[in-house]
Symmetry: C2
Subunit: 337 residues, 2 copies
C-alpha cells in the first residue's frame, strides 16, 4: 500500500481510526501534528514554558520528550528510580542513553537514597505498590519543578490510558474523578505545578510506531510491581471495540472533554483537582471535594516537615516516609535482639 499523504513511498503504518496509512516520514509529520494540535486545542503549553518531562524509560514518555525537543520546547527529563531490582536499572539505562543522544542529562531522583524505595516501602506500610508510587512521584514532580523553576510538568499518558481511566470512572460513576479528569491540571496555590498530558490525542499503537521508526530504544517490559489489572481490563475492552469500530476512542474522549458535557465542571474543578486528585491522599481529596470544587476548602497549608502543599500538618509523602522509617527501625530492633 502506498502512503496516503505523499502517494510515493510504501506505507509503513496503517491507521484505521484515521482512514489512513503513512510512510515513515509522513507518519512523523502526522504524529507530531497530532501532538501539537492536542497541545494547541487545550492550551497545554506556551512557547516560553520550561517543561519538566517525566520519563520512565517506556515508549510513551521518551516519545513525548522527543517530540517536545523537536518542537523547540525548553525541556529537561526527570527520571525517578523506583528502586525495583533489575527493572529500575534497565529503565534508567534507556533514559540515560536516550538523553545522551539528544545531548541531555536527566535529573535523577533515587528513591533508595530518599529512604523510600517502592518495594520495601510497600512491604513496610502494607500498601499497594502503585498507590505508594503515585504519591511519591507526585511529590517529586512538584518538588523538582519548584527547585528547577519549571513552569509545567508533562507526562506521557496517551489516548489509551486516558480512555481506559474514563471508562473505569464511568462504569462506577465516580463523579468527582470525572469532573477532574483532563489533560490539563492548572497550577494551584501552595506549590502545585501545572500538569499536562500532551499525548492525549495519540494512541498507544501510534506512540509505539513513532518510537520504533525513530529508533528510540525503550523498555518494553511492564513494571513488575504493576498489578493494576483493572485499567488493563478496561484498555482491552476498549481495544476490542476500537478494532471493530476504528475511531471510537478519540470520539469517546473528545466528547467527554467537550465543555458542554454535564459531567465536566469548569476549569476550577480541574485546578482544584490538581490538589484533590493527584497530589493529595484520600482524606485530603475528600476535604477538597467537600469544598464543592470552588476552592471552598481553602488553599493548602505547608507541610511542617518539607514545605510541600498539604491539607494536613504533615504531607502524605512525609507521613509515608515516617511510617517506612519506623517499620525499618522496628525490624532492626527485632533483628538485633
Amino acid at each position: 500500500m502506498k502512503c496516503k499523504r505523499c502517494r510515493r513511498a510504501e506505507a509503513a503504518v496503517e491507521l484505521p481510526s484515521h482512514h489512513s496509512a503513512f510512510c515513515p516520514d509522513c507518519f512523523f509529520v502526522f504524529f507530531r501534528r497530532q501532538v501539537t494540535e492536542g497541545i494547541r486545542k487545550l492550551r497545554l503549553l506556551a512557547p516560553e514554558d520550561r517543561v519538566l518531562v517525566c520519563v520512565s524509560g517506556g515508549k510513551d514518555s521518551l516519545v513525548l520528550w522527543d517530540v517536545l525537543i523537536d518542537e523547540g520546547y525548553e525541556t529537561e527529563g526527570l527520571y525517578i528510580d523506583l528502586g525495583i531490582d533489575g527493572y529500575s536499572d534497565r529503565s534508567k539505562e534507556k533514559v540515560l542513553a536516550y538523553a545522551a543522544s539528544r545531548g541531555k542529562t536527566p535529573i535523577v531522583v533515587e528513591l533508595a537514597k530518599e529512604g523510600i524505595p517502592i518495594p520495601e516501602a510497600a512491604r513496610c506500610v502494607r500498601m499497594q505498590e502503585c498507590s505508594i508510587c503515585g504519591t511519591v512521584k507526585r511529590y517529586f514532580f512538584n518538588r523538582v519543578a519548584a527547585e528547577g523553576k519549571f513552569t509545567v510538568v508533562a507526562t506521557g499518558h496517551n489516548l489509551d490510558d486516558e480512555t481506559a481511566r474514563l471508562l473505569g470512572n464511568l462504569l462506577h460513576w465516580q463523579r468527582d474523578h470525572l469532573a477532574r479528569q483532563h489533560p490539563l491540571l492548572p497550577e494551584a496555590d501552595g506549590g502545585l505545578v501545572r500538569k499536562v498530558k500532551p499525548l492525549w490525542r495519540v494512541s498507544e499503537i501510534e506512540t509505539a510506531a513513532y518510537g520504533f521508526l525513530k529508533g528510540i530504544d525503550y523498555v518494553t517490559e511492564e513494571c513488575p510491581m504493576s498489578e493494576d489489572a483493572t485499567s488493563l481490563v478496561y484498555k482491552e475492552a476498549l481495544s476490542r471495540i476500537e478494532d471493530r469500530m476504528p475511531g471510537t476512542r478519540i470520539v469517546f474522549y473528545q466528547g467527554f472533554l467537550d465543555p458542554s458535557n454535564p459531567l465536566r465542571k469548569g476549569p476550577e474543578a480541574a485546578a482544584d483537582g490538581n490538589m484533590a486528585r493527584e497530589d493529595a491522599p484520600a482524606a485530603d481529596a475528600l476535604r477538597a471535594a467537600e469544598g464543592d470544587g470552588e476552592g471552598g476548602a481553602g488553599p493548602p497549608q505547608v507541610c511542617v516537615e518539607c514545605g510541600a502543599p498539604t491539607y494536613t500538618e504533615t504531607c502524605s509523602f512525609c507521613r509515608l516516609k515516617e511510617r517506612v522509617r519506623k517499620a525499618r527501625s522496628l525490624r532492626v530492633a527485632r533483628v538485633s535482639r
Copy 2:
C-alpha cells in the same frame, strides 16, 4: 457447592455478581425478587395494570411473561410474526406452546397479512431490517395496546441489553439518547402507551438459567436478519469486564439511573422520549428534541391514514407501508411488461 440460601440443596446456578450460588428453587425466589424489586423501585407496574407482554419466542420475553403471570399480573402476550422464512415459524411455535402451557392464547400480528413482511419491506425500501422492524413493532405495540385497552406494554430487555446500549450511547456521547434511556417510558398524549422493561436488573445469564430450569422452551437462534453488530460488540466488551469484575454491569446501570446523574433529565425527558426516541423516525425525534424535552414540540398529531400519533401528516409506519406498496406495484409492472 451448596446453595447459599437454603444451605441444603446442591447449587445449580452460580452468580459471582451477587457473591452467591443457588439451588433451582432458591434461584427462582431470587430471580423473581430481582424482577419485582426492579418493578417496585422504578414503579414500572401497578397491580391494576393490564399488561401487554411482547413475546418474540426468545428466552427473555418468555421468561418475563412467566414471571409476570406468576406474580399475578393481568397479562396477554403479543407475538409479531415478522415473516422471516423458517425463523418466524419456529419462534411462533415456541410462543404458542408456552402460551398454551399457561392456558393463554397470544395476540398474533402477521406482518405478511399487514402488507409489510420485514425481509421484503427491507428489499423494497432499501433500509436496514432492524430499523424497519423497530418502526413496525413500535407501531403495533401502541395499536394493539389501544385496541385491547392495555395500560402498559412490557418488553424483555435485560441488564446486558440495557448496559450495551448505555455504553454505546456514552462512547458517542449521544446526549439526547442518554437523557431518555430508562426502563420506564411514561404514557404520552396521542396514544403512546407506557412502556416498561421489568427485566432491567437481571442479566442474560440469569434469564437463560431461569428459562432453562423452569423448562421454558425458547428459540435459541438469533434473528437471521439481525446484523446489529455494534450492540454485540458492546455486549461482549462488557462481558469481559464483568467476568473480571463481577457486579460491574449493575453498578454501571444503577449509577446511570440515579436521578442525580447530570446526564439524566427529569421524568419529562423520558415521557418525551416515548415519542421522540421510540415511536418517531429521526426527523420527528429531532423536532421533539428541539422542544428541549419539556413538551415544547407540542403533543403529536394524528396520522391521516391510521390515526396513530405522529408529528408529520402520515405516520412513519403508514409511510413505510406506502413505500413498500409502490415498490411492489412497480415490480409487478416490470414483470408483466
